[in-house]
């Protein structure tokens, strides 16, 4: 107990001092958390403040954010060639930067990271592992990570997951994400190692192989993409598997839109206690976000600063408006190739300016991710988002999971192409009525053969990895 207090103090002092944290100390804290759970069955009463931070007070929130921004900018001005130039051009003093002065620094966009990755690398770090974005939204970005940050993220992730009962020593986590997403895989493996849990990394393998691991393999947690989850639901139904066949207790998904219909089906199919829909992005780890019970998206503002900028003006968005999420991970949480004001191009709608009443109301929130800004459509004066389309398609009676479609706007009207089987049993009028009920005025509905469905919209589940067993 005393040494746990000392470890917490060491970590806190490291944070206040703005220096790299001792990752071994953090790993020991995870051990302390496990011992606490073993003895008491649950963490102490202050656990929410421990994992979410003391952010109910907006002043404390701004104070922490200002310090984080100043610390991060000061380091980047010294160590990152890209930001040395950018800050100099903006005429700001990094160590004295205020939150309301951030607008003077242009946002960083993905193309800059893709074209000039070496300029983002900090001079005071040693590279250890490279990770790539999956490239579903364009040319993949390659991001170098230091050993320190990999250890740090695993430690922070494990501590958070253990205290929230998202990861137990008795768990086996089965991971289905692209094998090139090494950061995500390392985070899963590292978190499981620290928590004493098992970890099975399979990748995007044929669904039957995945189901074998989820049944006989005893997996209790699955981490994957919504589109792959959809394939698993379909495959499990085909094999006649039900909730009693799966020891799963949690499914965590991210990276794509999880529709309510698919979520409901996954609950019924796998019999899990929870399906968490979280946000993560290679470029801005460890700033993540999770979805609360009321469907809000809560970004983790302990480790970074999150801005919501108006899509048209680039200024802070107003309540109720659509906004792109711009994230600055703080030092010492991001080490090797940090970004500053990184425009994720993920679109959210800001919530009304009212107090939150959800279970994580101490953290600020926005609406759920609606899709990428560059994929928004404007039809009949209305904005059509990727989420709207995915939710509408996946809610079709045929349950066409994962939802495949191609949407475009011609002459201000929405055109939608779907696989033939998606609207099986429905007349065109019925199909239009279905979409109208989901707020979509589909002017033209085109059907394509099912064999061409994959070409309509790339999904992460398309990043198939072959196995000899599947080929035999």
């Amino acid at each position: 107990m005393f040494e746990t207090g000392i470890r917490q103090l060491r970590l806190a002092l490291g944070m206040v001092g703005g220096k790299r944290l001792n990752t071994r100390n953090l790993a020991r804290l995870v051990g302390d958390a496990l011992a606490t759970l073993q003895e008491f069955g649950e963490p102490g009463a202050d656990v929410q403040q421990l994992v979410d931070g003391p952010f109910a007070d907006p002043e404390a929130r701004d104070h922490l954010a200002t310090r984080g921004i100043q610390r991060t900018a000061a380091r980047l001005a010294q160590q990152s060639p890209f930001y040395q130039r950018r800050f100099a051009a903006a005429g700001i003093t990094p160590g004295k930067l205020k939150l309301d002065e951030l607008g003077a620094i242009p946002v960083t966009v993905k193309s800059e990271l893709v074209e000039r990755p070496a300029e983002f690398r900090c001079a005071d770090t040693e590279v250890h592992l490279t990770t790539r974005t999956t490239g579903t939204t364009g040319k993949p970005a390659e991001v170098w990570l230091s050993k320190y940050e990999i250890d740090l993220w695993a430690g922070l992730g494990a501590l958070s997951a253990v205290l929230r009962d998202e990861l137990r020593p008795t768990d086996i986590m089965q991971v289905h994400s692209s094998s090139r997403a090494t950061a995500a895989v390392h985070l899963d493996v590292g978190s499981c190692r620290l928590a004493g849990a098992g970890c099975r990394v399979l990748g995007i393998v044929p669904p039957d192989s995945a189901l074998d691991g989820l049944t006989a393999g005893g997996a209790t947690i699955m981490a994957t993409y919504p589109s792959y989850l959809a394939e698993l639901v379909v495959a499990a139904r085909r094999r006649g598997l039900g909730p009693d066949d799966f020891p799963l207790r949690r499914i965590q998904v991210g990276g794509e839109v999880l529709s309510p219909s698919l979520k409901k089906a996954a609950y019924a199919q796998f019999g899990v206690e929870s399906i968490s829909d979280s946000f993560g992005m290679t470029e801005v780890i460890p700033v993540t976000a999770r979805t609360c019970g009321q469907g809000h998206l809560h970004h983790d503002i302990n480790t970074g600063y999150v801005e919501y900028l108006d899509l048209d003006t680039g200024e802070p968005a107003r309540p109720g408006a659509l906004a792109t999420v711009v994230i600055t991970p703080f030092f010492p949480y991001r080490d090797c190739m940090p970004v500053f004001r990184y425009d994720t191009r993920d679109v959210v709608r800001l919530l009304p300016d009212e107090p939150l009443t959800c279970e994580v109301s101490a953290l600020p929130a926005c609406g759920p991710l609606l899709g990428k800004a560059d994929h928004l459509l404007r039809a009949g004066g209305e904005v059509v988002t990727g989420r709207q389309l995915t939710e509408a398609v996946e809610a079709l009676p045929s349950e066409p999971w994962p939802g495949r479609y191609r949407a475009s706007v011609h002459g201000g009207r929405l055109r939608l192409a779907l696989p033939t089987s998606a609207v099986a049993g429905l007349s065109e009028a019925d199909a239009r009525a279905h979409f109208a009920a989901h707020g979509l005025d589909v002017a033209e509905l085109t059907l394509v053969p099912d064999s061409e469905a994959v070409g309509l919209r790339p999904l992460r589940t398309d990043l198939h990895e072959l196995t000899f067993a599947a080929g035999a």
Partner: protein, 324 residues
């Protein structure tokens, strides 16, 4: 002289047994009914014993070295901390709690300064001091046991204290010096009483380890084990040390009895622990204890805790699918 020895021995026996029984029974009563707030992360472990022992080794030296005003301040802060933490869940009105603590400690300082000219004054002073000490020992024992301290830890701690007490009583007479130094000063960390010229006392540290032993035995193995532990505590912690002066002359010139009680208690406690472990096996966790019928389930709910340790943040999701 021989009559004095018999009288002081019997007197010491009554004080020691009385203090031991009152404190341990109160600690058990508390453990069954009151839940203390605990930090989000942290459970008592073996290394914490080493920390406690280091503190224990340094404290007496500090007591001797410090000026009396500084020592009184230090003791007042220590008692305030233990009483406020321990009785926050019991006295829900925080104003009342702090007023009570202030009254207890203030009265003790006042009595020590003004009432020690008569035997009755001494007796009132000891009764008041003993109330503070019993409440403090009960609170701290529960803080540790409810924080995850196990019987194994207590038994090892007692064994180490046996060596410590022997060294600082027989080899380096620091304990004797302390007993004399504290006598008649405010907030003497002892349970005691006075009859005529004789003061009989039992140290706060002794009461704490006895309460820990009984409470940890109860938490670990239940009622039978607690009864057994209580017998061990009374015999090895009170009866044998109190009657020891009849055999070993540890009486100083003022006839204040100073006996290394832990030297008798430590081996007995450790042997008792080994027997309990042999008989009952693995100790219950706090979770298992709280789920048992050894707990009175209409517990007094704890009020919100003091400010959390300044700990760092953690990312929202351990293993979110991280993508572009």
């Amino acid at each position: 002289m021989a009559d004095d020895l018999v009288f002081t021995t019997v007197f010491e026996l009554f004080v020691a047994v009385g203090g031991t029984v009152v404190t341990t029974v109160l600690a058990l009563f508390y453990l069954r009914r009151v839940r203390l707030e605990r930090p989000a992360v942290g459970v008592f472990n073996g290394r914490d014993i080493a920390v406690l022992l280091c503190v224990l080794a340094l404290l007496p030296t500090l007591y001797v070295v410090l000026a009396h005003w500084a020592l009184t301040t230090f003791l007042a802060i220590t008692f305030m901390a233990s009483l406020s933490i321990g009785y926050r869940p019991v006295v829900r009105n925080q104003g009342l709690l702090w007023a009570g603590i202030g009254l207890l400690l203030g009265a003790n300082i006042w009595m020590a300064r003004t009432m020690l000219g008569t035997v009755l004054g001494w007796q009132l002073y000891w009764v008041e001091t003993s109330v503070i000490v019993v409440l403090g020992a009960c609170a701290v024992a529960n803080l540790y046991v409810q924080g995850g301290m196990r019987l194994k830890h207590v038994a090892r701690f007692a064994l180490l204290l046996a060596v410590y007490d022997l060294v600082f009583t027989a080899v380096t007479p620091l304990t004797n010096e302390l007993a004399q130094d504290f006598l008649g000063y405010p907030l003497d960390p002892s349970f005691g009483f006075r009859l005529g010229l004789f003061n009989a006392t039992l140290g706060l540290g002794d009461l704490l380890i006895y309460s820990l032993f009984v409470a940890a035995a109860f938490k670990a193995y239940g009622r039978s084990a607690a009864r057994f532990a209580m017998v061990v505590v009374v015999v090895f912690g009170a009866v044998i040390p109190a009657t020891a002066p009849l055999l070993i002359n540890f009486i100083d010139a003022r006839a204040d009895v100073v006996v290394p009680a832990q030297t008798f208690f430590g081996p007995g406690a450790f042997a008792a622990y080994l027997w309990l472990r042999h008989r009952y096996g693995r100790e219950r966790t706090m979770k298992e204890f709280l789920a048992s019928d050894d707990v009175v389930h209409a517990v007094v709910a704890a009020t919100p805790a003091v400010a959390v340790e300044p700990v760092p943040a953690a990312p929202a999701a351990a293993s979110a699918a991280i993508v572009d």
